[in-house]
Symmetry: C2
Subunit: 382 residues, 2 copies
Amino acid sequence: MGNTAETELIMIPGPVQVAPQVLRALSKPMINHRGPEFKKILDESREKLRSLFNTESDVIILSGSGTCAMEAAVGNLGGHKKFVAIENGKFGERLKLLTSLYGSSAPIIAEWGTSINTDKVKQALQEGADAVTIVHNETSTGMTNDVEQIGALCRKYEALLIMDGVSSIGGIEAPIDKWGVDIAFTGSQKCLGLPPGLSMIAVNERAWDIIKTAQKRPFYADLIAHMKSADKGQTPYTPTIPLFFALEEALKMLEAEGLSERINRYRTYATSIRAAIEAMGLELFPQPSASSTYSNTVTAIKMPSGIDFVSLKNEMRRRGIIIAGGQERLKGHIFRISNMGSISEGDILQVIEKLELVLLEKGVVSEMGKGTLAADCVLEGL
Amino acid sequence: MGNTAETELIMIPGPVQVAPQVLRALSKPMINHRGPEFKKILDESREKLRSLFNTESDVIILSGSGTCAMEAAVGNLGGHKKFVAIENGKFGERLKLLTSLYGSSAPIIAEWGTSINTDKVKQALQEGADAVTIVHNETSTGMTNDVEQIGALCRKYEALLIMDGVSSIGGIEAPIDKWGVDIAFTGSQKCLGLPPGLSMIAVNERAWDIIKTAQKRPFYADLIAHMKSADKGQTPYTPTIPLFFALEEALKMLEAEGLSERINRYRTYATSIRAAIEAMGLELFPQPSASSTYSNTVTAIKMPSGIDFVSLKNEMRRRGIIIAGGQERLKGHIFRISNMGSISEGDILQVIEKLELVLLEKGVVSEMGKGTLAADCVLEGL
């Protein structure tokens, strides 16, 4: 139990474990954000991000967290959109708040962790809604929504589709162009394995046409200002330069691994965690159905009886492992393990082993080894 | 001329030269932004920032550039304010744009680099304006506006005073409480000597009373959300953690030096640069008067005949020194040298010496040594 801050394993769904070479890149001396070195980093990163987003669209990089991009996505449309805000978790709820701030909003709410009723979405579109917001992967519940179905509906009824891809892009398959997503965004501190501080937003022509005619938009997250500057290899306001150095490095690492390899690796990790959870007799929290699946970037587990989250968190923390609890209404009811960022099979096994030990001590499980064996069978492909 | 990116001296008014220990702090491994380590950094930094701001007010830290704080300052007041936006430089202009986005705005515009007519401000307040925006130190023109005068007017007419202290706070005396400033903000990449990425905003009770009753506000820069989270030692959205590590270090360094010593040092640096400029026969750009002074954080110099800015910039750059040009309407007409960030007397002398050499080569000056001698006399207190 000799873990220090330097050796702690951070398994929460962002911030995530960051690779040493990415951490080192943060420490480079400053450069002029209006000079050629910054232009090169920005231009090349934006180009590589198009591959990450699976898109032909322009990608804008914002110096702010995923919520900054979320505000940009909803706030640049001019305030006249009739939004359908789909909520089945905390980030769907946040999108709902934003849609009501920047337009009229008719939310479609499912219990957190349960699936969206796509018929309701269809009905809202038939009744004249012209924009839909959806969270692809709900970090808060460990569930992935089927965006493809919603995309097909949006294309049929000519509504704009805005997708929160914060904890999916780069970690879960998300071919946004193919799905008919018009605006998608992600954050640096998830599948890209960077520290928090940047967000990226892809905007297609259909969305730009609306944005260009909008009378009102936020200022710091003004996409027109960002696009104008991006065309010159700049940002409208001073960018968070260290994160851009780190982004350059993280994108190199992603290129070296390959996007589909990264996605496969995350799938394997998440599958192994789920296998371990079930082998230990614990229950997964989300209830996936026809329009959803278990998340491959974060696993949400029901708190077993015999231990509360605070004890679990502290016992894991004593052993150098940081796990997450539930947010808001899910506080105390679930715990969450992320597999995003710079982690290895060994890290997964360590987490499961320590979890099993803590649960054994508390009498929640009666023997050691079932979890790690189940996890390792998946990791080994057995 | 063997400077590399690692040894380049960045003398633009942000990003600035960052000290090695601050750069190193950026590279620490991630921590949970909802955990005790982050709480400690946030709580302590906010407390120290109150000293930096010379205020009893609460200080909020935003994960975004100075413009993010600028939007927060103007955008949280509910949209019903009748602003007087004072503009005599680029950042005054930006505040003007923001005030018209978030309220009604009657700008008072002086030619960039010239002084504000305080009588006009008084008149506007008499006519019912209830909020004033002013840039304390205009990075774009190298001039510092007298906020104390405006503060006295605002207190007399009970108008809210919002001050952009981005390139002054921590580098130029700015006792905001004493002056009657209600909201003031700064950015990390100026006098604090950090990389860009964070901004800090101080809000007094008078301003909070208005903000609390506001019906509408921006989302990412929602000060109520930030304050609620800050009370728990958190941020509402994921913060740019590496910059918080760096802030902790930069505030330690500031404490070790002392705020008034830092301000004195910057004053000496700027005075020495101005002395050198005048000794070389060049002209300072701003025209200070009763309501303004030369800036002690950035010096703006008229482009002399015989050289254009692009040549000057490139010749300096070849020698490893990065200087700034004019922005927008001042492009080509001025160049700027900042003395913010982690620089030394030796750096100042180097910049002046190289500038003198470049100007000699171009025939702008006829002999070497006058500039460095004048600068060094100031530095040595002779």
